[in-house]
Structures are given as C-alpha cells and as structure tokens.
C-alpha cells in the first residue's frame, strides 16, 4: 500500500438524462502535485470538476479527501475542508467590489454574530497581496461587473488563491485570457501554488502552456479516463491522439 493521495475519486459515474457524462472515472491527485485533466470537448472534464467540488452529486462512486469520504458533503463543507473550485466562465459577485469578491473567499466562517465584527485587517492584507500578484490591485474598488473579460478571469483565480486551499480545482483558468498573458498567468499561478503548498487539479486546453507545469496528466474521452501518466508520455499515446482527432 502506497501513501494515500490527497484526493481520490473512485469509480465515479454521472448521468444527464440518457447521456453518460462520467463513466466509472477514477482519478487520484497526489499531495503537492499539479495534475492536468485533458480531453476533447464534451469528454466530461467539467462535469468531473463539478462532482469533485460538490456542485453535482454522482450516481455511483465515492470521493475521498485526505482519506475521508466526502461524497455526501455539500460544496460549502468541502470548501471548509480545503477544496476550492473555480468556474469555467467566472461566476463573480457582480455588485460587490473586486476586493470584496476576494475578501468573501478569504474570510473564514465566524458564525452569524462573529461575522458582524469588522476587524479583518489581516484578511484585507492578504487579499491585497493576492490582487497584487495577479495585477488586479489597480482596480480593487471597482464593481466586479465593470471588469474586462480577462480581469474577471483573474479575479476568479484571485478568489480561489486567497482561500489558501489544500486542493485547488481549476476549470480552464486560461480560457478567454489574452494569449500574450496566458503564459505569464500560468507561471504566476503555479508559482503561487507551489509557494503556498497548494495541490492543483486543472482542466486546460492550452496544452502548450499547461503541460510543462504539470506533474501528472489524465486524459478523458466520452466520460472515461483513457490514459494517464507523465505529461510527455501521455501526449505521445496513440489512443489520446485518436480521441483528439475525433474517432
């Protein structure tokens, strides 16, 4: 028996009506790693992320986090355990300011009366730091709805980072980001994650940028995992090529 992984999804299945979105998917994420989840459109990657974050409940299979069975846990409890997930298209709080979007993720649960207190200098400090890392500090007081598409994407990441999760589930963090910036953002993101000791499971299409940061890769096709291993090996796998070419 090897050391248990930080996160393990065992035989997870999910159906939408007649469509099998996930078909007995088993994915494990080692502590401290950056695991890449690849696959063509519609292969079930986003569904898997949503099952992992608790937004969707699987019909079969179990999810483990730090050895604990978290299958029945709702999203907010998974967050408290240290799992943070981002959305493919940012779901910001449009009427809140940029800084408050970040603070919302940074503030712990102090209960009803506790969160009436405004003493959060330390949290505010941390929030500004993350904004600076992602070059958002210049717009900290704008309403989130006034940001550009790329900035919204960054804010989504800032929110996720500031929560200092143990496991970060990223659903296409680079989609819609200016190509010139994408490489830069990925570098900053991975650097921040390594510094904070955050384990990452990432769905991303921009393999040119993402592959070199990944430690391990899974490839999904039609709701199943068809290959896994070291990133360089996985992309050489002929079955993976066939899946991408659309057989």
């Amino acid at each position: 028996m090897s050391r248990s992984p930080l996160f393990l999804a065992k035989n997870v299945s999910k159906r939408f009506g007649g469509v099998r979105a996930l078909n007995g998917v088993t994915i494990s994420v080692e502590r401290g790693s950056l695991t890449l989840l690849m696959g063509p459109n519609g292969s079930g990657k986003t569904t898997f992320i949503q099952v992992a974050s608790g937004l969707l409940a699987p019909e079969e299979g179990r999810l483990f986090f730090e050895g604990r069975d978290i299958t029945p846990y709702p999203p907010h409890l998974r967050f408290k355990l240290g799992i943070t997930s981002t959305f493919q298209t940012p779901r910001l709080f449009p009427s809140l300011s940029v800084i408050e979007n970040v603070l919302l993720a940074a503030q712990g649960d102090r209960g009803f009366l506790g969160s009436l207190r405004g003493d959060e200098e330390e949290v505010v400090e941390r929030a500004f730091e993350v904004l600076r890392t992602l070059s958002l500090d210049g717009v900290w007081d704008r309403p989130a709805s006034a940001l550009s598409g790329g900035q919204m994407k960054l804010l989504e990441l800032a929110r996720a980072l500031v929560s200092e999760p143990k496991l970060l589930l990223l659903d296409e963090p680079l989609a819609g980001v200016n190509p010139a910036l994408a490489g830069e953002i990925m570098s900053r993101l991975t650097k921040a994650c390594r510094e904070l000791g955050v384990t990452v499971l990432m769905v991303e299409h921009r393999l040119d940028i993402a592959l070199k940061h990944a430690d391990h890769a899974y490839v999904m096709h039609n709701g199943s995992v068809i290959a896994q291993g070291a990133p360089e090996e996985v992309v050489e796998n002929p079955e993976v090529a066939r899946a991408y070419l659309g057989e």
């Binding site: 779901r91 449009p94 603070l103 503030q107 009436l116 309403p143 940001l147 550009s148």
Partner: protein, 360 residues
Amino acid sequence: MRGVEVLSFLVSTAVLYSVYLILASSMEIEYGELGLPSFAKAAFFALGAFAVGALTVRLGALLTGVALEGEFKLVSYRYATLISASVARNPALGLALFAVPLLVALPLAVLMGLAASYPALRLREDHLAIALIAFSESVRVVARNYEPLVGGTFGAGVVDFLAWLRSPWKELALLAVALAMGFGAWLVEYRISTSPLGRVLRAVRDDEVAAQAYGKDVARLRAQILALGSAMAAVAGVLYAFYAGTVNPDDFTVSRTFIVVLMVVVGGRGNPFGPPVGAAVYLLLDRGITLVKHYIPVPFDVNYLSYILMGLLLILLLLKRPGGIVPERPLLTLRRALPQRGSAAAPQQRGAEGGGPAGT
C-alpha cells in the same frame, strides 16, 4: 389646544415612522441584501400585533383579578379601558403588559421565520414570493374569522401601557420607546449591511452557487436571516398595536407588505440608508397629503391620490433609477478595515460607481 394637536401629530408621525423603519429594515436585510422576497411581511407584522391584541386584555384581567365576562370580540374594548385605569395607578402593570406580548411574539416569529425558510430553499424566487403572499393572506383570513384570537372583524382593544403618565409625558414616552425601537432596528440592519456578514448576504444574492463554492452555508444563512427579519417585523407589530390602541386583522393585508417593499425599493435596495429614506418618502407623501387634503380640489377622496402617487413614484424609479434614491455602492464592508491600512496598497478611492468598464 393647538400645541397638543401639533404634538400628537408629530408623535404619531414619528411612531409610524419608527414602525415602518423597523419593517423596512427587516425587508432590506431579507430582500435588499439577501435577495429573498420575504413577502409574508404583513403576517409577521400581524403576529406582533396579534400578541398584543390577544394578550393585554386577558393578561391584564388576570393580573388585576378581573373576571372576563362575555364574548371577547364584544367586550375587549370595554375591558381594555377598565384595565388601563388600573395601569394608571400601577406603572409596573403597564410595563408587564408591554413586555409579555413582546416576549411571546419574538420566539413565535423566530419559529415561523425558520419555517418560512423551508420553502425558501426549494422555490424559485418569484414562486416563493407568491407562496409567501398566499401564506400571509391565510393568516389574515384565519384571524378575521377566528374571533377568540383578536375579535375577528370587530378587532381587539389594547390596554394603554402608558396610562400612568399624563399628557404630554405620555406622548413623549411613547415617542421615546418608538424611536429607540425604530433606530435600534435600523442599527442592526446597518451593522449587518456594512459587516463581513453583509458581504456574504449580497454574494448569495448575486450568485448562490458561487457563494456555496466559497464556503457559504446558504441554507443556514437564509434561516438565520428570515428568523431575524421576522422577529423584527413582530417587534414592529407590537409597537404598532400599542400605538393604535386596537388590533384589526384587516390591517395586515398584502398592501401592507407592498408598502414596505416599496420603501426598500424607493430608498435603494442594498444600501443601508435605503430604509430610513424610503420610509421617510412614504410618510412624507402619505402625511403630506393628509395635511393639505382640504386644499386639493378633486371630486373624490384625496387619500386615493397618495396611493396613486406612491405607485407612480415606484414605477418611475424602477424605470429611471432602478437603484433607488440612495443606490447600493460596491464598497460597503471595508470602512472599518481600510483606514488602518495606510496608503501603500490602498490607492485613493476613485469614484467606485463611476469607473467605467475597463474594456476587453
């Protein structure tokens, strides 16, 4: 004589303002901040008033050793006068008669608020609003037909808990109690709105799923807020019943809820100053028209005009200035944390509302 009239007009205006300030503050927390259309407001308001209507006469009779004879609906006013006379000699009795209905209504309102959060988790917002309105009207229909509660359509008499004071001290005492309750409720609302909790409420309102993904227990939050808002409305009901000196179930219609919603929307949803502004605008129109009604030459009851004007005002605002008179600002919850930061990371606050989209 003139001075007394002016005083009572001012006092009654201020008490009504307090009542509406409490109701609007509770609606602001629930609807303005959390986005929950708690349109059973009239029922929770009624709960407080019914506690007063059902209890002061009966409790007063019990405490003064008077036996209640006859049907409640027919005798409650007579006994209310009788017991008020006892209160005039015994201030402690007055205070007890004020406190007990409050203590009975509060836990009941909290329980009912928690119960209302059950459908709140399951229904789309507009369906929830209709369900709550139907519930609210049910409460009214039961109260107006079940006469032992508060006398049905006869209404119930209320003991004057301040009968031990003489005019003008009596009026001033009522004024003080009302203002304390009204601004107390508003302070609760202000504190919530500008605290980290208010940030969570608005986040849930903006995107429930994202709020859950960031660790917010939406179900618990809704239950807590509905319990709080309902309790506040019940307090307003207690105050209103003592002010009016009578309780009538038909006073608690959907229109009452609508007026409170109107105050919140007119004042400005999501801005803690919305309720005091909205309540003031409503009372200004309502009372203003009462004051000048003899000078408006229309061939119908002028009071209708105030309703029509309120309706028009609301629609105009929704169309031209949907944020209300004092719209929500995006930076609400940092006032206490930011000043200590110095200017290193916190640049000067530029017009946060004016900042246009930053392009693509």
